[in-house]
């Protein structure tokens, strides 16, 4: 037990440790606090709107047990998508094997310690999100004190199911990935594709419960209460047949919503037993797998690689080209970095498609709706703007390649510093690469938007140009930030970098960009609306202004980055 606890402590603390290798600024602490405050302010609207939605969900369903369970399940799905997937794969990524294996500790203990750390990480990142959903639900439902008293326990228990799923998914995933072989680049791509598929599946399942479908009782405006009640009844009916199968959640919710001690007790006891069983199953199932991964990592997969092609053409292709080539190979072949770097690229188009289904534009063969809306002039002005704002935010904040150009190098950064290549060229190669990746994602998304949303192609083009310019600008800022204080010496890309301050800053910058885009555009949209869609020149002006904003932003940030980059680079101590 003592070994286990000290292992947990060591692993947990260690993952956040990187060697920051540049001069720290004086006002750092204050700056960070301000940053987090700003972030809180920016994200408040999102959190508040989720909370409000949950409140009404609780209110209209009157604290229905099935709806509550559904909510819990949705939270678990969310956790599975955005947290557990990467965290679980990190339990099985056994880079630290050699540092742990020689310890006089049995491997189940090590594995259990790693699981615990993963669990703690997950708790840290998703407890808030779950609380934001469950507390307002309880308020809306008018739940008793017991609900809130049980909530902390629930936060702990809710995570177990997604972790079980995560570890179960991780196994066939890596088996499949190994099946496909020697080429680690293909493995990374495969991993991303599978991830996207799982995500789409989640969206589809959630969507299929269709909260908003199936009212026959006429007009919402005439008679809102009846319609809502109708919707809710249909919803509950659909849930009734499914939710009890998620028995541990069902019991947990029952316990939380209990009105008497007996119910609470039964619910609590059952959910504890079931969750414990889940944990045991997870442990039993994945321990052998962990052992196999360990054995593989220590013994190496040299044998399979020896069979690989022996031909490789030695060729001088010029500094920048060679640099980009090796950079792509290195990131793609690195399972952690590769996934993070290229998942964003695929994510954007997928989200466009999902959005398409969600907005019901595809529903019931009703293509006439899209045709109708497509010729509405205002739609052609507003829709691209909204989608663009959304995609800019997404694209800028998930561009991992651009976010960590230097930290990505990790301990081998000294190589770049000792090469007789001006840093400007290295920077150019890095920026070119991440711009290219970003542009590809943008391009595919724009094509999809034009095709699916019936938006005119020239608007699509304008969107693409604006998005590319703004994306480039935000990337310049991120590059500069990373250069200023790179994080070097990480073992776990996710924990060490992905969640670091820069990601938040990137998101914040993206947010500001979107905000300025909206501010610039809205007056024109209003003017356009006032002219009843006759004033096409307003729409033209809007795009010109947006583009000008993009050009200005890109130019200014590029200039700043170029001016500072090499100084920052020289300062880094490797």
């Amino acid at each position: 037990m003592r070994k286990y606890l000290s292992l947990v402590k060591m692993l947990f603390v260690q993952q956040y440790k990187t060697r920051v290798t540049s001069l720290p600024g004086k006002k750092r602490r204050f700056g960070s606090v301000m940053l987090y405050l700003l972030m809180a302010v920016c994200f408040a609207p999102l959190l508040i709107s989720v909370a409000v939605a949950m409140y009404y969900m609780g209110k209209f369903s009157q604290g229905d047990l099935y709806v509550g369970t559904f909510l819990m399940l949705a939270c678990q799905g969310f956790v599975l998508m955005f947290g557990v997937h990467s965290i679980m794969s990190n339990v099985f990524v056994v880079k630290d094997a050699e540092r742990l294996l020689f310890l006089p500790v049995r491997s189940p203990v090590i594995f259990f310690a790693k699981l615990t750390v993963a669990y703690l990480n997950e708790l840290l990142t998703s407890a808030l999100a779950i609380a934001v959903a469950l507390v307002p639900f309880g308020l809306g439902a008018g739940a008793g004190v017991g609900y809130y008293l049980t909530l902390p326990a629930a936060l702990f228990l809710i995570l177990l199911l997604p972790m079980l799923f995560g570890s179960i998914i991780a196994m066939p995933l890596s088996a499949l990935v190994t099946l496909f072989g020697k080429n680690s680049a293909i493995k990374t791509i495969l991993r991303i594709v599978i991830y996207v598929l799982i995500m789409a599946l989640y969206m589809y399942v959630m969507y299929s419960f269709g909260f908003l479908t199936g009212s026959e009782n006429g007009n919402f405006l005439d008679n809102p209460e009846v319609v809502i009640k109708d919707l809710m009844d249909g919803f509950v009916e659909r849930l009734q047949s499914v939710m009890p199968y998620f028995h541990s959640d069902y019991m947990l919710m029952m316990c939380m919503l209990a009105t008497n001690a007996g119910e609470w007790f039964v619910g609590m006891a059952l959910t504890l037993i079931e969750n414990f069983a889940l944990l045991a199953v997870m442990f039993a199932v994945s321990l052998p797998f962990y052992r196999k991964m360990l054995a593989m990592s220590v013994e190496g997969s040299g044998s399979s690689e020896r069979r690989g092609k022996k031909t490789y053409s030695v060729k001088n292709r010029g500094v920048v080209r060679e640099f980009i080539r090796t950079d792509v190979k290195r990131t793609l072949r690195d399972p952690q970095v590769g996934f993070q770097s290229f998942a964003g690229l695929i994510m954007m188009p997928v989200i466009v498609v999902i959005l398409y289904f969600f907005m019901g534009l595809s529903s019931e063969g009703d293509s006439s709706f899209l045709e109708f809306i497509g010729i509405t002039p205002l739609y052609q002005v507003i829709a691209p703007l909204v989608i663009m704002a959304y995609m800019t935010f997404l694209g800028c904040s998930t561009n991992v390649l651009g976010l960590y150009p230097v930290s990505r190098e990790n301990r081998s950064l000294y190589i770049l510093k000792s090469l007789p290549v001006p840093f400007g060229k290295i920077l150019l190669a890095k920026v070119l690469l991440s711009t290219a990746v970003m542009l590809t994602g943008d391009f595919v998304s724009c094509v999809l938007i034009v095709a699916l949303f019936g938006i005119k192609w020239y608007y699509g083009l304008a969107m693409l140009a604006t998005m590319a310019l703004i994306g480039f600008g935000s990337m310049c800022i991120c590059t500069m930030l990373d250069l200023r204080q790179p994080k070097i010496g990480w073992d776990n890309f996710n924990q060490g970098l992905r969640n670091a301050k820069n990601s938040w800053i990137a998101m914040f910058i993206a947010f500001l960009c979107v905000l300025s885009l909206v501010i610039v555009s809205v007056p024109f949209v209003v003017l356009y609306g006032l002219t009843d869609g006759e004033g096409w020149y307003f729409s033209l002006c809007m795009w010109i202004m947006d583009l000008a904003l993009g050009v200005g932003f890109a130019a200014v940030t590029y200039k700043i980055m170029n001016g500072k980059a090499s100084k920052y680079f020289d300062r880094i101590e490797v």
Binding site: G308, N316, R330, S412
Partner: protein, 243 residues
């Protein structure tokens, strides 16, 4: 060939000078051995010589080129073998060499020829198509060595190059260092292994707590008295400890 004038360096996160007012002049055609206890500042000095770290003060000249003013020209006549083995794990050995060769602006044909030549010398040809991640410690070390010499540097800088090498490779490396210096180039290397230093070097320098405490040729040291290099090293460096 290598000149350091009053070079000092303090790491950002520390208060002690890792290298303190170091002045050194190393000639062409010589193998210079850099000795010192752990944490003395050897690696720090070497990193400054190769442009990985920027000195706080002082100047460094490589073959008459000021490293601070003209880093590209200075770096392109250097070859660097670091003491850690953090090479790009997800590249194949051959891809890494191709990358390095390109960065040093080598023409394709020459690059091919050099890679073949040195890979054969260090018995690494077989392993070149494999991922660097699958290499052993010594194999990575050899790859680093090859990467540092393919562009025929005038100044060859090695940080503890012999650790981890098998006897054959260690022998080859020592031969290569000798041949390098005999062609009028300079070899600068740090080591803990006094026997090796004694056998290979023309001149040695001893550094302790960031300060250069002795520089001399081996002949002088031998002629000087009865002290062996080992004794001398131990006396000089233990003085610092006692203070």
């Amino acid at each position: 060939m290598i000149k350091l004038y009053n070079v000092s360096k303090t790491y950002a996160k520390s208060t002690v000078k890792a290298v303190d007012d170091l002045t050194l002049d190393i000639n062409a055609g010589e193998i210079f051995g850099f000795l010192g206890p752990n944490g003395a500042g050897k690696s720090t000095t070497i990193k400054m010589l190769t442009g990985v770290l920027t000195p706080d003060s002082g100047t460094i000249e490589i073959d008459g080129v000021n490293l601070a003013d003209n880093p590209i020209a200075a770096k392109s006549i250097e070859g660097f073998v670091p003491d850690n083995h953090e090479i790009y794990d997800t590249l194949k050995g051959i891809e890494y060499l191709n990358f390095i060769g390109t960065m040093y602006g080598m023409p394709t044909e020459l690059l091919k020829q050099k890679i073949a030549e040195y890979a054969a010398l260090f018995d690494l040809t077989e392993a070149l198509p494999n991922m660097i991640g699958s290499y052993s410690h010594g194999m990575k070390q050899k790859l680093s060595i090859i990467a540092a010499v393919i562009h025929d540097p005038k100044v060859w800088i090695l940080d503890e190059p012999l650790t981890g090498l098998d006897p054959q490779s260690a022998y080859q490396l020592k031969q290569l260092m000798r041949a390098w210096a005999d062609r009028g180039n300079t070899v600068f290397f740090s080591s803990h292994v006094i026997d090796v230093v004694e056998k290979v070097c023309d001149r040695i320098g001893i550094i302790n707590h960031g300060k250069l405490v002795a520089v001399d040729t081996l002949e002088n040291i031998r002629a000087d008295g009865k002290l062996s290099l080992e004794d001398m090293f131990l006396t000089i460096t233990s003085d610092g400890e006692r203070k």
